[in-house]
Symmetry: C2
Subunit: 485 residues, 2 copies
């Protein structure tokens, strides 16, 4: 009995210690998430970078800022292994997507813990932290979670007395959600720092089955804003509604000419450059856990645009993400609007590029009778052309894929399996990260290892991280930091 | 020489007197326009009604308020003619369309005078008022101008010592821009007051040629808000964009299934109830001054949806007046939206009714695979139906027409011609006023006689009245008040 009591006491002590450690991680994370992090918000971006440097300096790592005029700094953290010849870099980004605070249950940069039922939780005073609780804040999942998890993994290694056998380098970007406009210039300016022997990109969510995943590619992306025009001033739609062109109607027809309701892109030659999936990729997709039924329930949808989610991500996509003209609801008025605007993005797969699809899209828009302009047309321009479309393209970047059977992939998968997190192997992420930049020019191995929950509302309101995903991420990072050779 | 000097002095005195009178009218009008007048803004609606009563009481007319619970009051002004047996009613409305102050050059309820070049004018201290100057404010044209013009016409009659030979009754409604939801109830509650021998409805703009017009009909109207749905929460459009239904794409396809880019409505049987134009109507249309070339220049459009503006107004119209989902510009994010909403209106011609077209529209939407709901669907409803459209119909009302060759039409046209304003005869107004209510049940003659400039930006930002239109309106009202038998 005495021995059992001692064991129980030890066990309770371990539990208490674990809860204390977890609370310390979440406390540090909440402070980090409280710093607003739009890439365009230079003062707060600087505060984020300083917070990251302090976070890792506290743990004895050497840190530095890479800088470029007009760009958020890249924070670099080095954990050298004495005698090691290889350097493995782990990437994450500390900036977040724009927010619409009206859509958030609580302000986006005021972290709040909620239980699975959505009730607020007083986690600072709770005996233990339920792993199903979630911390809500912009970038809780995308992409500050990996940063805090790497810091916590270093603590665990310190506590266990173990050391890495390869040089570890953490690289944290500050403008990924703005399309990484300076990443290429950074890679060119700092080749010594940013040309490691391999990259592990820590971004995106885990598999929807909640299993961790190892991802071998990412779709490219380029966004496009289209504005089409009606009269130069708002007109009474009763007096002119059948005669003056309606810009909303023009825009809906233009969008529909580009994409159908099944996701099929109708732009001529759009699929000409698309490489078919390889046999290895098809096999990996076939082995991925089925998630469609659960996702449909979770998303509240009775039907989907296409049959197989994973196959659909191997294809390019045209997404309409915003459309605006005039007003709805109580603000609606009987006005023939002056213009209508849609924000689109294209997700690209090998071997498409932003340049290749831009040409096809513009040819298509011209084929619909439009004259393309790059700035708001004046009246003379409007009088000269029956249909005018103002196009504003984002920076964008091409897709990338890494072979599924690379030696490094097998080593990482083995470490994850040993840590209890055998990964789902995914040929490509549906979302976009600038993976191609890391690969070039030396064809450096690049893999993606996400830790955030798939239902983290990334890019949307009420973004969150599920605590268990944070703990899983820390475990996997400890395994990699100690086990990579 | 002495005689010429006296004449010149007399002439200058007359000019000075005219300028003084005009300034007094504009001063009184500007005070009236400074009162906000959304139909839903009960306190300010009451202030408007009180201001109108004071305006006419000052001129010795008897005034009263007709009231109904929850409705803006109707202001009634009576100018009886001793011994007269006929009562001719003049209608206008004192409420205005909703405003988006961001779109206005100056605040909508702070009247500002500008010259033809758009420069502010210090009209209170100008020697004379240039008739091309415009007073900018919500309802300057639609529809407070007729109210102030009627008051000024009474002043002119008083100055000339002339009296009406029919009883004149002015009837001013306070919720026309909200769709006149209580007008039918008012007409039923106050039959003695609101069943005159004829109606002259003073709303809408003059002909685009700047000639005054006499209008014999108005299109009906009914508005419809449609919301279609995507996932129950915003999703990353890279991860799910080819698989989860995109509500923007659904909405654009639904709108396009209903209307093409030439204004043609594609809903089955939509034109079955439409009566073809009569020979008299076609003749009147043929005699209307051509305005298309000028309007295209004014509106900055190189092409139109259909060939002939006046013919197009004889047909029903489907107008898209607002569309909203997600964000554009700097606020755009890579989010698959939860819903997309469009605000539409239908303009109706005899013998369509809101009820008849509502049935056709809903059959059409169902034929596109949609389940129609009347309130926001819960998750169970979303999971049960692949495509859901929430429809919210406005009140609306049917169209109306009055025969072109009615005796009253000829009398009014003759008076206008004598006053120097020979009217363009228009079979129907493109816009909608609830003319049918005034006709029923006794087939009372109803004509529309607008005074506002055609380019007054009614319903839109920077609404205005051109001063010459105000003076023309006063002249015509004086002629009618003195000359109607």
């Amino acid at each position: 009995m005495k021995r059992l009591t001692i064991l129980l006491l030890l066990s309770l002590a371990a539990i208490a210690q674990a809860a204390t450690n977890q609370r310390a991680v979440v406390t540090e994370f909440a402070d980090f998430l409280a710093i607003p992090n739009l890439a365009s918000d230079a003062p707060n971006i600087a505060r984020n970078a300083a917070a990251i440097q302090a976070m890792f300096a506290k743990r004895g790592a050497s840190t530095r800022l890479l800088t470029l005029d007009g760009a958020p700094p890249i924070v670099v953290v080095d954990i050298p292994a004495p005698g090691a010849t290889r350097t493995i870099a782990f990437y994450a980004h500390y900036d977040g997507q724009p927010v619409d605070p009206k859509q958030w249950q609580t302000p986006p940069w005021t972290p709040v813990m909620r239980d699975a039922a959505g009730n607020d939780v007083d986690w600072r005073n709770a005996a233990t932290l339920n792993p199903e609780w979630r911390l809500y804040a912009r970038s809780a999942g995308d992409d500050k979670a990996p940063i805090i998890a790497m810091a916590a993994a270093l603590d665990a290694m310190r506590d266990s007395g173990r050391k890495p056998t390869v040089n570890l380098r953490f690289v944290f970007e500050g403008e990924e959600e703005a399309g990484s406009p300076h990443l290429a210039a950074y890679l060119e300016k700092y080749p010594d720092v940013l040309r490691p022997d391999a990259w592990i990109l820590c971004d995106g969510p885990v598999h929807q089955s909640r299993r961790m995943q190892l991802v071998f590619g990412a779709r490219g992306v380029v966004d496009l804003e289209i504005t089409v025009y009606g009269p130069v001033k708002g007109l009474h739609d009763g007096h002119y509604g059948n005669w003056v062109p309606n810009p909303i109607i023009r825009l809906t027809h233009l969008i529909d000419s580009m994409r159908d309701e099944t996701g099929r892109i109708l732009i001529a030659h759009f699929y000409d450059d698309v490489k078919p999936s390889s046999a290895v990729e098809q096999d990996a997709i076939a082995k991925m856990p089925p998630v469609e039924a659960d996702l449909k329930r979770e998303f509240g949808i009775a039907a989907t645009e296409s049959d197989n989610l994973n196959e659909s991500l191997m294809r390019p996509a045209l997404n309409a993400r915003g459309i605006q003209s005039g007003h709805i609801g109580a603000q609606a008025s009987n006005t023939l609007q002056t213009e209508a605007t849609a924000s689109l993005d294209f997700r690209l797969v090998p071997a498409e590029t932003p340049e290749s699809i831009r040409k096809l899209v513009e040819q298509h828009i011209e084929s619909q009778g439009y004259t393309i302009v790059r700035s708001t047309p004046d009246t003379a321009t409007r009088l000269a052309h029956p249909k005018i479309a103002k196009l504003t393209w984002g920076a964008g970047y091409p897709p990338a894929r890494t072979p599924l059977d690379l030696p490094l992939s097998q080593q990482i998968a083995a470490i994850m399996t040993t840590a209890g997190h055998a990964p789902v192997r995914v040929p490509t992420l549906g979302g976009s990260i600038p993976m191609y930049l890391f690969q070039q020019p030396a064809n450096t191995p690049v893999l993606i290892l996400p830790i955030a929950n798939h239902d983290d509302n990334q890019h949307a309101a009420n973004e969150n991280i599920r605590l268990q995903n944070l703990w899983d991420g820390i475990e996997v990072y400890v395994g990699l930091f100690e086990g990579l050779r």
